[in-house]
Each structure stands twice: as C-alpha cells, then as structure tokens.
C-alpha cells in the first residue's frame, strides 16, 4: 500500500496569494461527480453482476459510490439493472419521481435499455419509455468493468453539467414529455 494520496485536478481558475477563483459550476460538478450515491434498482440477472461490482474484486466504492442509498429520497443516481416488466413499470416510475433533483439514471443491461432478449407481451421495451435515461450500458449482462465504465461516463456528465440545467425550459419539457410534472 502506498501512502500517496491522489487529488483530483482543480478546475481552471485564477490563483493568487490566499485565494483561488473559479466557476462555481465546476466546483459543484466536481464535488457531485465524486460522490454519487447510487440507488440500486436491481430486479434480475444484471443485479447479480451489480453485486459483483459492489464486492471487493471490482469495488464500486472507489468511485465515490460507497454508500448505496436504498431510499430514493437520498439518492443521486438511479441504477436500473434487470428486466422491467410492465407490472413493475409504475413502481420504477414512482421511485424516479420520489428522487430529489438533481437525479441521474443509468440503465444497465440490454433488458433495461431495450427489453433485451425478452421481446414479449409482459416486458417493458426499454425503461426510456417511462423515465429519461442518462447513460445506457449495453450487455447481457454487462461485465462489472462495463458497469464501472458507465458510472465513469456519468461522472463526466455530472461534472460538466451547468448549474441551471435543471431549471431550464428544455429540461422541464423533457420531463413533461414523460408526463412527469415538476413544480
């Protein structure tokens, strides 16, 4: 074990004696991206791969997601893993609605992305039919490395997200197109 502590790189800014000036967007983005609390919404096989991702071999905690938050109210990142049947869809939607802004969604696995191999009457053909998705992770099931890659992609998104995005009319329109009302 090395004692070396790695720090993230500071965003671009002006530094002088005793001060450092930069954009608040970037600082907030940086902080957020390194402490995303996941809400694992694991229904089936992909959930087992998520277990492997949490376990020591792959160790999701390295990416600032140490604490899986099982309450939607305190989660930032909804990870949907596994088949979502039509019977389950309203539940997923409710969970999404209960999350506080800002919230991100990762759809893990072919099933969550598109229905996967289950093109049947009982399976929802992709969760993006009911909630907006930020990152899609393909695979059936995706390897833990892929899931980690998906999370890193999301971190990138989070880092560069403008502060005002969630208040913008475009974002509201997006939610409205899913029938989710924001006040």
């Amino acid at each position: 074990m090395s004692n070396e502590i790695k720090m993230v790189e500071a965003p671009a800014g002006v530094a002088g004696e005793g001060f450092f000036a930069t954009q608040i967007d970037q600082v907030v983005g940086l902080a957020r991206s390194k402490s995303l609390w996941p809400l694992p919404f694991a229904t089936s096989c992909c959930g087992i791969e998520f277990m492997a991702t949490m376990a020591p071999h792959y160790d999701l905690a390295r990416f600032g997601s140490e604490r899986p938050s099982f309450s939607p109210r305190q989660a930032d990142m909804l990870m949907v893993m596994g088949t979502i049947a039509k019977k389950m869809a309203p539940v997923l939607r409710q969970v999404y609605e209960q999350m506080a802004e800002p919230r991100w969604v990762i759809s893990v696995g072919a099933c969550a992305c598109s229905g996967g191999i289950f093109d049947t009457y009982s399976v929802l053909q992709g969760i993006d039919k009911i909630i907006p998705v930020d990152v899609y992770v393909p695979g059936c099931p995706p390897r833990p490395e892929q899931i980690l890659d998906g999370i890193m992609k999301l971190q990138e998104l989070v880092k560069n997200e403008p502060m005002r995005r969630r208040n913008s009319p475009e974002y509201k329109a997006l939610l409205a197109s899913y029938g989710i009302i924001v006040n």
């Binding site: 919404f41 229904t43 089936s44 096989c45 959930g47 087992i48 791969e49 277990m51 492997a52 376990a55 020591p56 071999h57 099982f70 596994g82 088949t83 979502i84 049947a85 019977k87 389950m88 309203p90 539940v91 969970v95 191999i117 289950f118 049947t120 009457y121 009982s122 399976v123 059936c140 099931p141 390897r143």
Partner: protein, 412 residues
C-alpha cells in the same frame, strides 16, 4: 397499481382488524413490504398485517419480472432456448443449461461421452457452490454480518473465471451443446480449477468460522421459520430447503444423470427445517460439491467432448468459415431445421434450489410445442406467507434470504 393491490388486500384484512379490536382493543396495522425493498433481494411484494412487530397475516404477490419464458420457448428452436434457461436461476446458470441439454438429448436419444459428462458435472457443482455462496453470504449480511460476504465473493469471481474458460461468459453462460460441450475445458481452465480446489476450502472454512457459530447469527436463525417435513412435502419443497427439514431427497442420487453415480458424496440433511438448518445444509452441500469436483477432476477420462451427432452438433467454426457444407449445416441447426421426433419427455436435475424439471412436448417441428419449466422457487415460495405468521418482521427478512428465492426463477 400496487396501491390498488395493497388496498384490495387491506379490504380483506379489515374484518380481522375489527375482530381483534373488539377482542382486546389492540390495533393491527398493514405494512407493504416490497416490491423494491432493500432488504428483500429481488422483487417480492408482501402485504403484511402486523400486530406491533409481529406478523399476523401475509399475502405474497409475485410476477414483477414476469418475462414469459414458456411463451418464448414455444417460438424458438432448441439452440435458442438455452439463453432463456440461463436467465431462470441466474445464480447457477450452468445447471439450468445442462438440464435443458439433457432433456433434449433424452428426446433425441443421444449418448453423451464420458468426458463431457464429467466436465458437465464439474460445471454444475461449481454452479451449485456459487449459488449457495450467494445465498449464505447474503443471509449473513441480512443478519448483520457483512464481512463474510466480502470474504467469499472473491471466490465466486474465481468460479466465473473457470466458466469463462469453457464458454466465454460469466453469468449467463449459455454453456454446452446438444450432445456435449462446445469446446473442451482448456489447460488454463484445468489450472484454474486446480487452484480453486486448493484455495477455496481454506477461505470457505474461514467464512464458516466467522459466521456459523456466531452467537448473534445463531440467535437470529435458530427456530426461525421452521417447517415440518410433512408440510414441506405438501408444499412441494425440494432441494436444500426440503433437506433442511430432514428429507433426503436428491435427484442426483434418486435419478442419477450425467454420471453422478460415479462419484461418492453424501446428502446433508437438517432436522427442524429452520433458517439455521437451511444455512447449514447449504454449507455442507458446498463441501460435498467440492468433494465431487475433486473426484471428477482426478478421474477425468480422456476422449471426445461431444457426441458424434452432426445432425445436431454445430460444426467447428473454421469449417463454417471455409466450407460450404458446414455453413449450411450451421445455419440449419441454428434455425432449428433438425430431425426431431414427436414425443414428450420430462427430465429433472437437482438445481441450486431443488428439482428443476423440464417438460417438453415436441410435435416434430422446429420449435417445441410446449415447454414447461418446473421451477422450484415458484413452487416453494407459496409457503412463505404461511411460514412467516407469528414471526417478527426482521425474522421474515432472514427467512426470505435463507429460502433463496431467485426472482428470475420465481416469475418465469
């Protein structure tokens, strides 16, 4: 929608609540547990009627990941059904795969060479270990012992690595072919297997030392969710959950398949059928599985790894790329244009959770006319509502984990 359901159950409970109130003035409350509750691994909904911390009545609802396996199976040729079986009990996919191939081989009357059978046994037992490891370590997590989980999960990764040597994937293995295996287990595979056999027992011993005699764990598990042997049989229990109740029914012994008769192993049984017995039976089964794998590894016969059935067995890839005939054969087999007799077969294997049966009706066409899966989880989960009665809420969680209900298998 789930609100509607909760309400309908609540209406059913209304009478009981009133009656109880009249009796001694105590108040019962309704609690909806699931379908996405962090403590339940998988998608189960239970609407509970609670008297304080105690469960008075329970009503289970399932079907939250119903994926219509049986309907899909009626529309797919044989080779495309294995991916479905993977996703049934996804903690032990190889057992499902092999069970399905054996059903097909039974229908087509194909004899599988010894070497393939032995490798299949190794894979199935590895799968059983992986399955039981998940169940027991998660049970420990639910009882508050997180460390055990971290210890043994490392070894599940090792098992996955061995799968990868044979089929290339980790979880949804899609392993095997009609008549044998798609490739021989490579030298690397054997090396990894050997390393696993050497390292795993020590690590698993550590897990047992850590958890099995832990006072808190024992208090949480002993006498929780006991079920008698008669009840268990009536409810259709099979597998470790039944053996925990003291019945030594194991298909590997009663109807040996894939050369299980060549190996020496015991069937561990419990006594009272409670959570602790289920835990112990699974643990002992892991040891037995290690024993079987060791024997199969030592006795591994030489020879071909698949039967000589060009009508059903996919030709090797180099041929397919370079040879017209082979390409046509490949195409035909994958599309299901293979000679299939009419008939019906039932074949069962000892899955991670019990008797995993396949009932196949073939009408001679390229797809099964009907394929019914006997899914052990689905059948024994119906006892859960009765078993939790009178227990504390926290005990219900432990019971659920110890029964190892896999959502994919439950909801088909």
């Amino acid at each position: 929608m789930s609100d509607v359901l909760v309400k309908s159950v609540a209406d059913k409970y209304a009478e009981l609540i009133k009656q109880k109130e009249n009796e001694d003035g105590s108040e019962l409350s309704i609690l909806n547990l699931g379908p996405t509750h962090p403590a339940t691994h998988g998608i189960f909904q239970n609407v509970l009627l609670m008297d304080g911390e105690r469960i008075v009545e329970a009503e289970s609802t399932i079907g939250y990941i119903h994926r219509a396996f049986e309907k899909i199976a009626e529309n797919r040729p044989f080779y495309q059904i294995t991916p479905l079986t993977d996703r049934m009990n996804y903690c032990s996919s190889p057992i499902n795969n092999m069970g399905w191939w054996m059903t097909v081989e039974k229908l087509l009357k194909i004899e599988v060479p010894q070497r393939a059978q032995y490798i299949r046994v190794i894979m199935m037992e590895l799968a059983r270990i992986a399955d039981h490891l998940v169940c027991n370590s998660i049970l420990a997590v639910d009882a508050g012992a997180f460390t055990g989980f971290l210890y043994v999960f490392q070894y599940r990764e090792k098992i996955y690595e061995i799968y990868e040597e044979l089929c290339g994937s980790r979880l949804t293995t899609n392993m095997g072919r009609i008549g044998g295996l798609e490739r021989d287990l490579s030298d690397t595979g054997f090396r990894k297997l050997k390393a696993f056999l050497k390292e795993f027992p020590a690590a698993f011993k550590e897990f047992e030392d850590l958890v099995s005699r832990n006072r808190i764990f024992m208090d949480r598990c002993i006498d929780v969710g006991a079920i008698s042997a008669e009840k268990a049989i009536a409810y259709g229990f099979t597998g470790p959950n039944l053996r925990a109740a003291g019945v030594d029914y194991d298909i590997r012994i009663s109807n040996p398949y894939s050369s299980y008769q060549d190996f020496e192993f015991d069937i561990p049984v419990g006594k009272s059928g409670d959570t602790y017995d289920r835990y112990c039976v699974r643990n002992s089964e892991i040891w037995e599985s290690v024993r079987i794998i060791q024997q199969a590894f030592d006795k591994m016969p030489k020879g071909p790894y698949h039967a000589d059935v060009p009508d059903y067995y996919l030709p090797p890839k180099e041929e397919v790329y370079n040879n017209m005939e082979a390409l046509i054969y490949h195409f035909k087999i994958v599309m299901g244009e293979i000679p299939v007799p009419k008939g019906e077969v039932y074949h069962s294997v000892e899955g991670g959770n019990g008797e995993l049966g396949f009932y196949l009706i073939s009408d001679g066409s390229r797809v099964p006319y009907r394929l019914h899966f006997r899914r052990p989880c689905f059948i024994y989960y119906q006892a859960f509502a009765e078993m939790v009665k009178g227990h504390l809420l926290s005990d219900a969680i432990v019971m659920l984990s110890s029964m190892n209900v896999i959502a994919g298998e439950l909801d088909s």
